[in-house]
């Protein structure tokens, strides 16, 4: 079951089941600190598991990000806010870096927390 906020990309990829939420990128499952809304979004999404019968179906969820569609127009015109594509781990903060480096020191390889595919960065 796929959730999505990018309808055109999902149509192109064509997963068996999808639920589309028309929210800005970074909000595929809802809004911050709105557990009741997010619960409803999830219930509506999961309902598709039993109600959908046709592969490639996309359910259009009825939730609105805001009363106007300004956010959508901004998203089209400003393009994405991509930062540089650094090739070293981008920790959210320095504590994370320290913990990860300590952890790496403890064991040769942690099979649970880190899995690489291919290169051994």
């Amino acid at each position: 079951m796929s959730m999505t906020s990018a309808l055109d990309i999902t149509r192109s990829v064509n997963p068996p089941r999808a639920a589309f939420l028309n929210f800005p990128l970074g909000h595929t499952c809802g809004k911050p600190n709105e557990p009741e809304l997010n619960r409803q979004i999830m219930l509506d999404t999961l309902e598709s598991l039993t109600s959908m019968t046709k592969p490639g179906s996309i359910k259009m969820l009825p939730y609105k990000w805001s009363e106007d569609d300004k956010w959508g127009r901004t998203a089209m015109t400003e393009g994405d806010q991509r930062v540089e594509r650094y090739d070293t781990p981008q920790y959210q903060n320095e504590d994370d870096r320290r913990r990860a480096e300590e952890h790496a020191g403890e064991s040769e390889e942690c099979h649970v927390c880190v899995s690489y595919s291919g290169d051994s960065k």
């Binding site: 909000h27 557990p35 219930l43 089209m76 991509r82 070293t88 981008q90 899995s115």
Partner: protein, 162 residues
């Protein structure tokens, strides 16, 4: 629909053209992937969450931004406040405030408590979805993710892209 869905493929095509890049080769599948009907009610199912928003747990190595095709296994009883984000292609501000916007762990845990979902698998699996090579995702990353989901005896996989 209140607002027209954003046309991301058009936007990115136009952006790349402006920057002088070659057009991005989007994945276009004529046929959807294999259909699996539900074999039992969701209330008896084990659900595996697979998310591409660059989520990791403090203590794990963070994702990098240059076609990082690795994934992380996040125990599904992880404290929400221990979740972190490393991604370059979306604004992670709200995700850092409430991870559930792209990693709906509390939402799902709540539905397990309510009996809507049977249980969550031992781990959720996450990766950093800004990987330009769809071949690497298809041939390297995706098979590993499905292998892990199958090993944890998932009945349902919930995919959460950003």
């Amino acid at each position: 629909m209140p607002a027209e869905p954003v046309q991301y493929m058009t936007r990115i095509r136009d952006q790349y053209a402006k920057l002088g890049y070659k057009p991005y080769q989007w994945v276009a599948n004529e046929e959807p992937s294999a259909w699996q009907p539900m074999r039992k009610p969701l209330s008896e199912c084990r659900l595996t969450l697979i998310a591409s928003g660059g989520i990791y747990v403090t203590g794990q190595v963070a994702f990098h931004f240059k076609d990082d095709a690795s994934f992380r296994a996040i125990p599904t009883d992880t404290k929400t406040e221990d979740l972190r984000f490393a991604h370059f292609a979306y604004d992670t501000t709200d995700a850092k405030i409430d991870p559930n916007v792209v990693f709906p762990i509390d939402t799902l845990r709540g539905l397990v408590k309510e009996g809507v979902i049977g249980e969550l698998s031992e781990h959720a699996f996450t990766f950093m979805g800004g990987i330009y090579s769809s071949r690497r995702v298809r041939d390297e990353l995706a098979p590993q993710l499905s292998e892990r989901a199958i090993a944890e005896k998932a009945d349902v996989a919930l995919l959460v892209p950003v």
